[in-house]
């Protein structure tokens, strides 16, 4: 056992013991002792008994199972208890510590090649689940007002219960405004970058203009775009175009200068024309820059489209839903939309990053080599 493992084990068992001693929970003022919740009871007793690890070797899987029993028991307990008392919180901390100990020991076992590397996905999964369990326990056990922070289960139920509505919002905002605006904004930024690169005259004129447009505040241009392009998704796509244009322009202009002098001289010795040099040397060399812009824009586009819907929209769309449901203090719906937006944004980014890896496989940052 490492020093950290010893400390974690001692504290985990210690908190389990504290949870057994203190009041566990209450309902309408009447105390609910811990043996009303057998799963939690088993977890706490075994947790204290796990102190034998200082004499006998215990497998790390025992810690994992202990943490899981504790987590499941504590979440199930939320169904009956009304107010969590100190014992509940100590049990929660104990369960968290056992999960931590498990992750710590598992990581060490993977480093020593005792278990296959694939088991490693458990570690981030444990972290995610631990956050959700703690969130659920604190919001419901501590009776946190829903307006402040709804519980994950509440958000999930709202999400499942409103699938047709959320799907329509997703289609309106993401599949129409974001994708169209993203394609147009990135495409325009790319083409203007090539024009700017070709002509110093355009470079002097268009780069400051692009800079100027990108400096315009989003909440200022969104209502103007609604006036110009109407209430439906095209005005949101226009906002996304404005937001994504400049990052693409600047990155592509920088990328087109990324090819080395020697490589350019080489193309010159072949009497290579402008387009041939562009397609065979300069654009491939610019690819890492262009993908940078595509990744930045993948998240910017979603933000732009959602915020733009705050300023006039048909009664559908993720931004519209967020602004109208917050008005009704229906916070769970807002969180559900946020969850969908976060998931969609992450997947979007991930897809772009995946294409980047395939296209710029040769770049030192992708192949993990030196330049």
């Amino acid at each position: 056992m490492t020093a950290l493992q010893r400390v974690l084990a001692a504290f985990a068992s210690g908190f389990a013991l504290l949870a057994l001693i203190f009041d566990f929970a209450s309902t309408e003022g009447a105390p609910l002792p811990v043996w009303e919740f057998p799963l939690v009871g088993v977890f706490l007793v075994l947790g204290v008994l796990s102190l034998v690890r200082f004499r006998v070797k215990i497998s790390y899987w025992v810690d994992g199972v202990l943490a899981a029993i504790g987590a499941v028991g504590l979440v199930l307990a939320l169904e009956t208890l009304q107010q969590a008392e100190p014992g509940y919180w100590f049990a929660l901390v104990a369960s968290w510590l056992f999960a931590w100990l498990f992750a710590e020991r598992l990581a060490l076992a993977i480093a020593r090649d005792e278990v296959p590397d694939a088991v490693g996905v458990l570690i981030p999964a444990i972290f995610g689940v631990a956050i959700l369990v703690a969130w659920e326990a604190i919001t419901r056990g501590g009776n946190v007002p829903k307006v402040l922070l709804p519980s994950p289960s509440g958000i999930w139920e709202t999400l499942i219960g409103n699938i047709p509505r959320i799907a329509a919002d997703f289609q309106q905002t993401f599949l129409k405004a974001v994708l169209a605006g993203y394609a147009l904004g990135c495409g325009a930024g790319f083409l203007v970058a090539i024009a700017v690169d070709r002509s110093p005259f355009l470079k002097r004129g268009l780069l400051p203009l692009g800079n100027f447009i990108s400096a315009l505040p989003l909440i200022g241009i969104a209502p103007i775009m609604v006036m110009w392009f109407g209430f439906d998704w095209p005005s949101k796509a226009a906002v996304v175009v404005i937001m994504t244009f400049f990052p693409m322009l600047v990155n592509t202009v920088a990328g087109l200068n990324a090819a080395g002098h020697m490589e350019r001289d080489l193309m010159r010795t072949y009497a290579s024309g402008y387009w041939s040099t562009l397609f065979k040397l300069r654009l491939p060399a610019a690819a890492p820059f262009i993908f940078n812009a595509l990744k930045i824009n993948s998240t910017l586009a979603l933000i732009g489209a959602i915020v733009a819907e705050f300023f006039g929209t048909p009664i559908v769309g993720m931004g519209f839903r967020i602004s109208s449901e917050i008005g009704k203090l229906n916070v769970e719906m807002v969180w559900a939309e946020i969850a969908v937006a976060a998931l969609a944004g992450s997947v979007f980014y991930w897809v772009v990053a995946l294409i980047e890896r395939a296209v710029t496989f040769w770049h030192p940052s992708v192949r993990g080599g030196r330049a």
């Binding site: 020697m262 001289d265 010795t269 072949y270 690819a287 496989f361 040769w362 770049h363």
Partner: protein, 266 residues
Amino acid sequence: MTTDGGKSQSVVEAKGLGLTFKTADGDVVALSDVNLEIKRGEFVSFIGPSGCGKTTFLRVIADLEQPTSGSITVNGTSPADARLNRSYGYVFQAPALFPWRSIENNVALPLEIMGYGDADRRARIKKALELVNLEGFEKKFPWQLSGGMQQRASIARALAFDADLLLMDEPFGALDEIVRDHLNSELLKLWAATQKTIAFVTHSIPEAVYLSTKIVVMSPRPGRVTDIIESTLPAERPLEIRETPEFLAIAHRVRDGLRAGHSYEE
């Protein structure tokens, strides 16, 4: 210019060539009054300390720099026309291979630009890679090969198309001595096999003497030619030739020429 391929035919002819760079600190004379002729089939080395204009002269031949005085012809035309006619291959100090292209596609690059047909392209890639002993590495990427192999691939790229003149700017300067010896003897074989005219910039005396039929000694500030030595070594040159008295005599003369250039400066 006739195309009879006679040895006397001149490939590069410079008369009173001068080049002055204008910089913020004033004018820098890179080349001054260079008179030189390179004949078909010759292997000419340019040797001198850094700043003597040897690379600049090579770049003038390649139309990568413009001379400010004098005249120069390449294959009887201006360097610009020679470049547009694709009449030379250039090998740089670094391999300058494109990392997104496999070795065979790097060699194919000039062929694609110059519009060679698909079947012709494949035959030329095969032949060029054979010449530099890189068979079997066609599908590898440059960053998977050693520095010496990368430079060989870049030579193959310069050999792939029909240019009779090969311009090499310290191609082996970044490689270690053992790899360098090996590549030098391979380069001589390649020169004999292809009958090309080679202009080769180096700062190594043994390399220049070993490879060349003609050694041009240059000195800096202003860059100029101080000596032109016709080699008396036989065409067949094993690496051991570097220990013969004849070789050492030429090397001695090159060293004297380099020293003369330096003492002029100090």
